[in-house]
Symmetry: C2
Subunit: 196 residues, 2 copies
Amino acid sequence: MSSQNIPTRDRILKSTWQLLEVGNGNAVRMSDIAKAAKISRQALYLHFPNRADLLTATTRYLDEVHDIDAKLVKSRSAASGTERLEAWVETWGNYIPTIFGVAKALMAMQETDDEAAAAWNDRILAIRDGCEKAVQALKADGKLTDNMSEEEATDLLLTLLSVRNWEQLRITCNWTQDRYIDMMQQLTAQALVKSE
Amino acid sequence: MSSQNIPTRDRILKSTWQLLEVGNGNAVRMSDIAKAAKISRQALYLHFPNRADLLTATTRYLDEVHDIDAKLVKSRSAASGTERLEAWVETWGNYIPTIFGVAKALMAMQETDDEAAAAWNDRILAIRDGCEKAVQALKADGKLTDNMSEEEATDLLLTLLSVRNWEQLRITCNWTQDRYIDMMQQLTAQALVKSE
DNA sequence: CTCTAACTTTACATGGTGTCAAGTTGACAT
DNA sequence: ATGTCAACTTGACACCATGTAAAGTTAGAG
């Protein structure tokens, strides 16, 4: 097994991600992860103090593996505000499937665990930042609708692009990923771009 | 205390609702409910076999108390498709705050408990029906956008009007209820009504 | 050969749900 | 007055997941 050579920590993170990925974020226990990583449940706690920490480390791991920063930089190079909004929706929307499992597990923990709540909040802030930048680009072009303030526009964009909405359309309603992206691009443009 | 005279079952349902309401659906235990209803934790199980059943009974109780059916009938009497969409968004959107606590608790249970998942799904189907009717009214008027099928339009409307989106805007982003309704009416109209 | 870091095994505390069984209480019928 | 029944109480316990604690194993580096 080549997986035996990978450092334990990485093997744990990879296993965590895979289990959450195939199970769509449902009910993955510490013991399941340990089994998948071929170590004892207790050894997990030698690497991560608790479940919340393991999950947040997994999101960081995914960000690294997929070099999300590079993709974000690319989406920021769009010429006009409308193109930038489109690019942002596409970039983030296409990243959701990757992190969905871990995100769902973190969201579920959030209700009861303060640490998990803080961790998830942190990630949301990063996404909100992307939304805000897109709104600002629109505003700079004089293309932001007069129906709302920049802050409201950011709130709305963040809400439309939520992981839950992706889950609803992509998983529950069985839309294709392309259809989801397409629809979100339309929807956000209609909502935020001034019509003339 | 007048509450001593109310039949136990009703007192339980009322307590459940109140606890979930004030706590925004967070972490209400069976023992908390028992204490609030002034009975022992075990007596709860004489009235409801488990937590999922208690929660679903609470939603039905709320539907009854607020006579939601009557409100829905009213929203269906709108003349045009666009008016009907507007009325539906307003009716449902204004009902969300009432059921939010219970809904959140039920959604949280859904991840692990099959019975809770089925119960919540049942409720969603009822709401989906409202969305579908609104879309059909739009279609009948020839006002449904050509961008999507009736089914897709229903999926989208259901997603936009989700409890999670309400929570995001109303609680997390601190929007007023009026602003929420207003924005949702705009958003759904832009997305679903044919522009000419 | 020894020390140490990474791991294993076993055991146990905690906190919530749900089950079980034996007792209490008050109203109502006979 | 007595028995019965339903609604409740009390106390104990099984289950399951997280997290803690402690003692033992093992492989590699000095």
